[in-house]
Amino acid sequence: MPRRVRTLILVALAALLLAVWAFPVLWALLTSFKTERDVLAYPPTLIFEPTLRNYRDVLFGSASLLPNLASSIIVAGVSTLATLLLAIPAAYALARLEFPGRRVSGFYILATQMLPPVGLIIPYYLVLQKAGALDTYWGLIVIYLTFSLPFAIWLMVSYFEDVPREMEEAALLDRAGRVRALWYVILPQVRGGIAVTTIFVFLNAWNEFLFAVVLGGNRVRPVTVAMFNFISVEQTLWAKLAAGAMLAMAPVILLGLLAQRHIVKGLTVGAVKGARR
């Protein structure tokens, strides 16, 4: 086979792949600008008069998504902040300091990352129900730590390990003190890592569904739950559903693109390092 033909076939195959992954999302984007009548047209139409009505409806209509977006921002935002405050110091200790039980606790953290969420949700439900804390923000924020904290610790460990030891030693020899060395020398070195960790932790919290649907309620209802409820109630309003989904997913799509060069690291965190420790 001539080389050019082969290249052409390869490119065509790649384009097909691109289509398989991007198409459902692009199709949803397109659908969100259609009227409900155009959605159900057969054969599906690419040429239609675009409308912003769906977006107006899901934003300002009777079933507005705005409170849900606010819920998601609060839950994801606060749990991300709490995660970072706990994870960054812990990751530094795991990566660079000696203390009794370091290896064992590293393994323990890795193991907690593998817990199936269904195993956690039942005890949380029972306890929060007894405490009268279902449908509160703090209940959700606490349970979100169960998956974001192990993840963030291991991701940050990998960034701390990249900091040259000489920098740290130099700072310490200058009698800078442990805390000052950490704050002024080490942390600036892992700024990029902290940004990437923040993005992934926020993204995971934003996308969470099982915990939110069980522990949330009328007051605390993140967008993922709102989307699900939408389809249970309105079986046929697909254009509105698509518009809602686009609004709900816009932040994570943006964050994902922002962190795209780090996504492989974010995806495999723990597994790479974990087995060796």
């Binding site: 390869l10 490119v11 792949l17 691109l18 992954w21 459902p24 949803a28 057969y42 054969p43 599906p44 706990l86 994870a87 110091p89 812990a90 530094y92 200790a93 660079r96 300091l97 000696e98 203390f99 606790s105 953290i109 907690t112 593998m114 817990l115 199936p116 969420p117 269904v118 195993g119 039942i122 005890p123 439900y125 306890v127 730590l145 169960t146 904290l149 192990p150 740290e168 442990r178 996308n207 569904f209 099982l210 993922t224 989307m227 697909w238 559903l241 698509a242 997913m249 994570v252 799509i253 964050l255 994902g256 693109l257 996504i263 690291k265 995806l267 495999t268 597994a271 790479v272 060796r276």
Partner: protein, 312 residues
């Protein structure tokens, strides 16, 4: 991607320097390390391990919120009941089918795609962006997309294609067998990019001179793949298999949104069964025992996998 630049032994270099300075210093260093580490550790123990103990306790109780007067200690009753519960065995079987098929599909597809894309002169960046799209979407939204725009009869994308190809219209999520295939397809669609990106990163980091040498030795394409590429990317493949198995075992939202476990119990993997038992039928005691079984399976699988990984 597999970062080997840190030698295992190098971890101790710096603390050793400190230790020789004075032992008092070393004690305060330890205290400092614990001060940094303990808040996170304690938080994890309180938020993950303590609930699991409570879960185990709950699994030994009869807690039926629809009949609260019947609640009480049940011992191993829930587990005994499980043995004779066909719905449990069905969910266990579906969990096995779902996990095995999605992992195998993701790895084979991801590997093939990565090998293919590596040979494309241009456009890798666009492909990478397309691959990231499904990964960042919430599984519940993916399930909803597929349930409506992709798989619904008549107007869904897949149905439009099969009708155009003369294969006819199908009730992709309503027919028990098709529904299982559909939820497997949904999971595979969303997560194959994971395998693809990780394997692609591993392939791109391989030294080109190894392949040159093999080419000079007249190794054909299959031999080069089988004896050079495959062993070199094995660590990446193992990571993908481990992580995808774990995620498949805790899959929930996409199936819940697409079929809710139905029709009937056709797509009711163990997660769905535990959820439905606990929160639809409000039988939390039995639901907890199902979750304990799931936990045990996850633990066993992860132990086996890490053993395999270590044995390498």
């Amino acid at each position: 991607m597999v970062r080997d630049q840190h030698q295992p032994g190098s971890h101790n270099v710096f603390p050793a320097v400190i230790n020789t300075r004075s032992s008092r210093k070393s004690v305060s260093d330890r205290a400092f390390a614990l001060l940094l580490f303990l808040p996170a550790l304690v938080t994890l123990i309180v938020t993950t391990s303590a609930p699991l103990v409570y879960l185990a306790w709950t699994s030994a109780m009869r807690i039926d919120l629809s009949m609260p007067w019947r609640s009480g200690f049940a011992g191993v009753d829930n587990y005994v009941k499980m043995g004779a519960d066909p719905r449990f065995w069905n969910s266990l079987w579906l969990t096995l089918v779902y996990t095995a098929s999605t992992v195998v599909l993701q790895v084979t597809l991801g590997l093939s795609l990565a090998l293919l894309v590596l040979r494309i002169p241009r456009g890798q960046a666009a492909l990478r962006i397309a691959a990231i799209l499904p990964l960042v979407l919430a599984p519940v939204v993916v399930g909803l997309f597929w349930r409506t725009l992709v798989l619904s009869p008549d107007v869904g994308l897949v149905d439009v294609v099969t009708r155009a190809l003369g294969l006819g219209s199908h009730n992709w999520l309503g027919d028990p067998q098709l529904a299982l295939i559909s939820v497997i397809a949904i999971h595979t669609w969303q997560w194959t990019p994971f395998a693809f990106l990780v394997i692609l990163a591993s392939l791109s980091s391989l030294p080109p001179d190894v392949f040159e040498a093999a080419r000079i030795d007249r190794a054909n394409a299959w031999q080069r793949f089988r004896h050079i590429t495959l062993p070199l990317i094995r660590p990446a493949l193992v990571i993908v298999v481990i992580m995808r198995t774990m995620i498949a075992l805790s899959a929930f939202a996409a199936i819940f949104a697409a079929t809710g476990g139905g029709p009937g119990t056709a797509t009711e993997i163990l997660n769905l069964y535990a959820y439905r038992t606990s929160f639809s039928e409000l039988n939390l005691g039995y639901g907890a025992s199902l979750a304990v079984v799931l936990l045990a399976i996850t633990l066993a699988v992860s132990l086996v996998m890490f053993r395999v990984r270590r044995a390498r």
